[in-house]
Symmetry: C2
Subunit: 216 residues, 2 copies
Amino acid sequence: MGRKSIADIRRTELAQAAFEVLAEHGLQGTTLQRVAAHTGASKASVLHYYATKQALIEAALRKGNSTLREEAVLYMRLAQTPWERFYAIIEANFSPTTYLPRMAHGWVAMCAEVPHNPQFARLQRVIYRRLNGNLRSALIAVEPDADAAERGANMVSLLIDGIWLRLGMQVGGLSREEALDHLESHLAQRYGTTPERLAARARMAEVAATLAAKTV
Amino acid sequence: MGRKSIADIRRTELAQAAFEVLAEHGLQGTTLQRVAAHTGASKASVLHYYATKQALIEAALRKGNSTLREEAVLYMRLAQTPWERFYAIIEANFSPTTYLPRMAHGWVAMCAEVPHNPQFARLQRVIYRRLNGNLRSALIAVEPDADAAERGANMVSLLIDGIWLRLGMQVGGLSREEALDHLESHLAQRYGTTPERLAARARMAEVAATLAAKTV
DNA sequence: ATATTGACTGACCCGTGGGTCAATAAATGA
DNA sequence: TCATTTATTGACCCACGGGTCAGTCAATAT
């Protein structure tokens, strides 16, 4: 029953491979040939499962995104207070398993294509809305003014984007810890160093650590 | 004597055209054909002036960068206090003549190639260092702690990157005014609303306005 | 008038990448 | 056992993009 057909297996295999190739070689460098080679299959075989390159890339991005999303959900489930939910989002965005140069490469490559590819634009909008929405809904509980919360959420998401961009370029790239420190310094300025916030931060950091240990 | 040879004229023409095409169509879409068409010349003619596509793109980016730099220098020359120098940088980065979707497209396209192209990486490093250095040297005058100034500079440059990235993607894109507002809100949090800062901000905004009027 | 130089181009070459197709091999079912 | 689907592939096609080349044309120099 839970048996996956070969077709399904191949499809996810290929999507995974496509994502890895994309991360390593950029969009231009992601040829059907290379993706095929990466799984030991033939180019024609790739086309057999994905009628067009576009479809393959799309599946690859969707997969990468869903991986990230699942992790976020995992963190979110363990969060109880607003600040904990907030830090769940942060930790998810800087988790050791996703905050990696290759991931960032793939992401930036996609960003660059957004203006020329409606599919990418759509996906990007989804990601953006989810992140901003989550941040806002967490902040609105600690910052009564909805407008202020909106601004705060935007600021944080802008910082995250900037940090990821740098990771992708390896120019002024920040380590996971440096990235979190930067964010923390901003939060301290903006929201003061209340015990609740610090506790939430510590708690989610711990959650992240244990989850990371389990995954490895 | 200041007479420019046809060769020089053509070369800058082509670099300009290449930049425009790059901004509009992305790196993949920047073909010799298109650049040629954009100036009314033939593909072979383009190759006549730039032996290789790589060389052409490089010239295009160099030109785009120098345009931005010249504007920054212009602003900088009129700044007198540290905060004025700081806002000169900000205004230069959000000047109406440069803070444009097409510019951002070009920039993001370049960012995406950085991991695969040493030339781009080098150029990006130069840009990054200049921006960060300028910000830091301005901030160090208002924030005695060198480490804090470094952090502050980094934060601002991260925000700028994030904002530009969004402009390039037109996802959560901010208008010039919104962008400046966001930055202002961050600065207010971090450095308080001192009269000097506000005065400097107003002064450089005015400078920017008059310069913009002159250029148009 | 002629030689020389430099601007400019059409035609061509070649590699590559997306996509098609028909054929073969393996699995599945009747 | 035979039929029918399904997996997989090599060979091929076509378009396009970078780059070469030989040669035309106009300006300048002698």
